[in-house]
Symmetry: C2
Subunit: 401 residues, 2 copies
Amino acid sequence: MQVATCSAPTNIAVIKYWGKDNVALNTPISSSLSVTLQQDQLRTTTSVVGGSALQTTRLWLNGQEQPINHRVAVVLHEMKQLAQRVHGKNEEKLNTHLHIVSTNSFPTAAGLASSAAGYACLVATLAEFYGISETDEEFPGHLSAIARQGSGSACRSLSGGFVAWQKGERPDGHDSIAVQVADERHWPELCAVVCVADDAQKDTSSCIGMQLTKATSPLLTYRAKTVVPERMKRMEMAILARDFEAFGTLTMQESNQFHAVCLDTLPPIFYLNDTSRQIIALVHRYNEQAGRVQAAYTFDAGPNAVLFTEGPHVQEVVSLVHHYFPPSSEMLIRSSTLIDRTLSTALLAKIEALSKCNKSLQVSHVLDSVKMIYVTRVGGGTQVLSTGEALVDISTGEPLP
Amino acid sequence: MQVATCSAPTNIAVIKYWGKDNVALNTPISSSLSVTLQQDQLRTTTSVVGGSALQTTRLWLNGQEQPINHRVAVVLHEMKQLAQRVHGKNEEKLNTHLHIVSTNSFPTAAGLASSAAGYACLVATLAEFYGISETDEEFPGHLSAIARQGSGSACRSLSGGFVAWQKGERPDGHDSIAVQVADERHWPELCAVVCVADDAQKDTSSCIGMQLTKATSPLLTYRAKTVVPERMKRMEMAILARDFEAFGTLTMQESNQFHAVCLDTLPPIFYLNDTSRQIIALVHRYNEQAGRVQAAYTFDAGPNAVLFTEGPHVQEVVSLVHHYFPPSSEMLIRSSTLIDRTLSTALLAKIEALSKCNKSLQVSHVLDSVKMIYVTRVGGGTQVLSTGEALVDISTGEPLP
């Protein structure tokens, strides 16, 4: 019985992915760019165990056995093909069944891009299991291309730091892969405040949503062809220069434009609700009082808000969210550093004054709409863990309790 | 003392106007198209009185004296210039001060396009006062161009039926005028159900909003240059063919795209709220159960919804709105025909079933969010009223109580 265990991070897109070019290959109509988050708090861990004693290939997610879906099957097939090319067909490991056990460190239902971390982790763990490293290959980026076939955004979770998923030009999709723009040590001051929102309303799945937008929105095509290529360049420049104002402005514009094309869909797709609007208002008022962009919001295909800011302002941002979106009981704040929630009365007075003179986007208190906050930073890519950290009993291949 | 009194209708855009080309001339970046509503319920009435006894030009709106704002001053100036060209400079009426008295038949605060009806009515009444008819002029559409300078959408309220405001090409704006596509007798079955929503939140004024969108939204330019010209043609064809499915589908797409470009603005502009989203969901579910587009929504720069439908379905549409958006006390329904609010249990069951299997855009009950409904049809343009209907005391020039 042989085992491999890896962990993978989640990532937050700042240039948004929306719209598939080739559905079978899972290639996008435009490039995208994301920030990989630290794995301290938000992390998927996966073990793959194989051996002649196993009767069939099985999968457990967060302790529950699941059927092998189409996308997992594609990733398993592609990884085996790749292993054959590297090691030859007779490699013993290629012919055994597998048990795959995966867990998330965060509530799965919270909509925190668990599929990106999940498929990245599956690919990394299978690569470790089969003894494949990126440098073995004739096509660099092959692991990235396989992760992409599991879940588009998963290819961006293989690497740390700032990662561009290049749209690619080849019909076989081999060049539709993720490439690191800067590593996780590049911008140590950049922080992400992940606000987990109350998800009473079920959303349109992003897979169905992006097909519908592509079929009905005239604005999506223009965005993909004209707006995104230029924004990719500007975002890379902003990141390389650690220019928070440029990074933050473009991040907010991208979030807004993504939701704009969702609204240009028929029937329209809404991911932003009245609470999201209040968070957006708060960030704009916070930046106005500072006279510069000190915080930026981004929303994906769900109700959570991710607020980017730099180290010195994290305490203010967290305190403001806590003030305007108060929990009925204690708010869970997960952070590797202690966050002082004392809110400066001067700051609050400035925001209230701005809110009064600007009648649109008024900030108001919304009880219990943010249930949890993660304060985190830019982090590294997938990691190989030790046998001691495996999620399976190596003697039996069964998941550990 | 001489008096003229006219009434003017409000209009609902089905191809939306958003974005000024020349701010001084009030010309748009794209054409738009609207439906003129009957004046039975939604109407502005204006009297203009002039005579040597008046000391200064004054204005009353809904019983309150108001200062003459810049746009009213522009309309007064342009109408005087036009009257001089028609009658010569020595015409006595051109040299007297005026009292202008205007009232709306509906709550002004309800956001029912009162400026469109208001400026159309002012232009029509001044034309009547100065004895100008469209046929006198060398430039046909001159009244339209003057109304446009008061409020863009006002030019569309001069005519009845279906009215296109052509963007125009001339630098002086003389060809940026409204033209009737079909008159008010063309499509007698078409009905508009105006849902007046509770307006707790103050909105961004459309004048400020469209400037901000023009300055910051990359999607607006594409919409104006590429999407709207093609949609104008399709909308005219749908209207001429009385094709409700084509008309309704395009109306909803236009409403959605207008709000999409508002969202693509920085800071984003939100006119749709959680109640609007529920109304949108209800209309889509209603059409799904029918297997065709039987109703269509459109939202302007405010919280009200206008639902278009054809005669046979008005009763269902009104009953559904009343069911899902129940008032805490009696809902005001203004209609020239009696509306039976009995809701078919079969219809309700179908909508509930569709809502259950479609997790996005679920329909739910929202208490007290619709406070009033007007059921109305396509109507005629401005009308000249008799001296007996004047809003002023003709002997003194003072507003009647």
